[in-house]
């Protein structure tokens, strides 16, 4: 258990360092950085490299946004394996839903609860 926490810390931290490098070194906006990382995750999964990383690092690989690209690709490929080309289209959101659905849900809830009385900085 301890070892998986350490690997989660290191791998998760390193993915964030890559993000910082894109932002500071290549002067990308946060939106560009995140999009680039998602595409990287999708490509890594295409080569079958992301799942081993998840096996290795657990949350260190599932929490960064790269895992979003991975799970989209994973769902698409799993369906494609079963149903051929149509599966590429239909399988996409098979496994990713939790990130997006929770973001939408908590977005609305957040807008509802936090009607700001005072702006703090």
């Amino acid at each position: 258990m301890i070892s998986s926490i350490i690997t989660a810390f290191i791998v998760g931290g390193l993915i964030c360092v890559i993000g910082q490098l894109l932002m500071d070194g290549f002067k990308l906006t946060p939106a560009h950085t995140l999009s680039t990382l998602v595409v990287c995750g999708a490509i890594l999964d295409g080569f079958g490299l992301y799942e081993p990383l998840i096996d290795f690092a657990g949350a260190g690989a599932t929490i960064p946004i790269t895992s979003f690209g991975n799970s989209l690709t994973h769902g698409a490929m799993a369906e494609a394996e079963k149903h051929g080309f149509i599966g590429v289209l239909t399988g996409m959101f098979e496994v990713t839903s939790s990130g997006i659905s929770s973001a939408i849900l908590f977005g609305i809830i957040g807008a509802f609860i936090f009607q700001k009385k005072k702006t703090t900085y």
């Binding site: 932002m23 946060p30 009607q115 009385k117 005072k118 702006t119 900085y121």
Partner: protein, 335 residues
């Protein structure tokens, strides 16, 4: 009388009778805080949108300025104002409440000086007797329009500036007693330094400020040392040092100052300093105006700088064109 390339000379002694500066809670720590008329504890009241709050700040600043000038709102002939929100809605909505004939102006953060220049011209023409002119900006409202949502976590670089929440308005009348007069003004040219970083406005605006200051100095046959202070609007700490480098004038070190760089003191939370139309308006109409009235300064050049970008043009890959308007204020020695 029209002088060369955009410099105007006012013969009728238009003067700043009184000013009203209303700021938000963040501006409490400003070194100018003592000279602000009122520091509101909230940026927006509960159940009030940021835009409505901006409107309220403008209304309040106007009524304070009029009150201090012993004038009545209904006797003001023209209201000239600007802000940073789309379609100038806060200024327009404030004018709805004030019911004074309105001229809305926009030159980003240089709006404050543009409205003063227009006001002086109206006074010169003899078609108006008293004029309210100024500008405002509201941090949350501006932030959401130009950058990211307020609560969005984006790392701000050292060059970033903080839009102030402030409304600064001045009551202009001709030949008022013991009030600073506006002797000259220089209308800015749109200068493009080919800068593209919207989080580094100081670098983009410095060439415009330099162009305006240089034209003003040549057209009025003066040099930097003739002024007590030449204050730019919101170049920020880095923008100011760029401007000083560009002049390479030995006087520029002391005389050239920047309201944005000083507005929040040395607090690193604000990175390079303050920006926004309210920044130049608040600093000029409170601190500088007070110093002029007290007679500490007798001749100052106020240069408000504005970056004429919108989120749209930035995303379309355009560079940031900038403008700077300047007014020269003099305080005649008593007696």
């Amino acid at each position: 009388m029209v002088n060369t390339t955009g410099t105007l000379q006012f013969m009728g002694k238009p003067s700043i009778v009184s000013t009203g500066v209303i700021v938000g809670p963040m501006e409490k720590q400003s070194p100018f805080a003592d000279s602000f008329d009122e520091i509101l504890p909230l940026e927006n009241e509960p159940n009030e949108t940021y835009e409505q709050a901006n409107t309220r700040y403008i209304e309040k600043a106007c009524s304070v300025a009029v009150k201090k000038g012993h004038e009545k709102l209904e006797n003001v002939d023209v209201f000239i104002g600007g802000d940073l929100i789309n379609q100038l809605s806060p200024t327009n909505f404030a004018a709805r409440q004030l019911s004074i004939p309105l001229l809305g102006v926009f030159s980003a953060c240089a709006s404050s000086m543009e409205s003063i220049i227009l006001g002086c011209l109206l006074l010169e023409s003899g078609n108006a007797k008293s004029i309210l002119a100024g500008a405002s900006s509201h941090h949350p409202a501006v932030e959401r329009q130009f950058r990211y949502p307020l609560e969005y976590g984006a790392q701000k670089p050292k060059t970033a500036q903080w839009t102030v929440t402030a409304a600064g308005f001045a009551l202009l009348q001709k030949q008022a007693k013991s009030a600073p007069i506006i002797s000259h003004a220089t209308i800015g040219r749109v200068v493009d330094g080919k800068q593209t970083n919207p989080l580094h406005m100081g670098a983009a605006m410095a060439p415009a400020a330099r162009d305006t200051i240089e034209r003003h100095l040549t057209n009025t046959n003066s040099k930097m040392a003739d002024y007590d202070i030449i204050m730019t609007g919101d170049l920020g700490k880095i923008g100011l040092s760029i401007l000083k480098e560009m002049f390479q004038d030995e006087d520029s070190g002391v005389i050239l100052q920047d309201a944005g760089a000083q507005f929040y003191g040395e607090d690193s939370f604000f990175n390079a300093g303050a920006s926004g139309a309210g920044c130049s308006a608040a600093a000029f109409f409170s601190h500088i105006y007070g110093q002029l009235k007290k007679g500490v300064f007798s001749r100052v050049l106020l240069v408000a700088t504005g970056a004429l970008l919108s989120p749209l043009t930035f995303q379309q890959g355009e560079t940031i064109p900038c403008i700077a308007h300047a007014i020269e204020c003099r305080m005649e020695k008593r007696g």
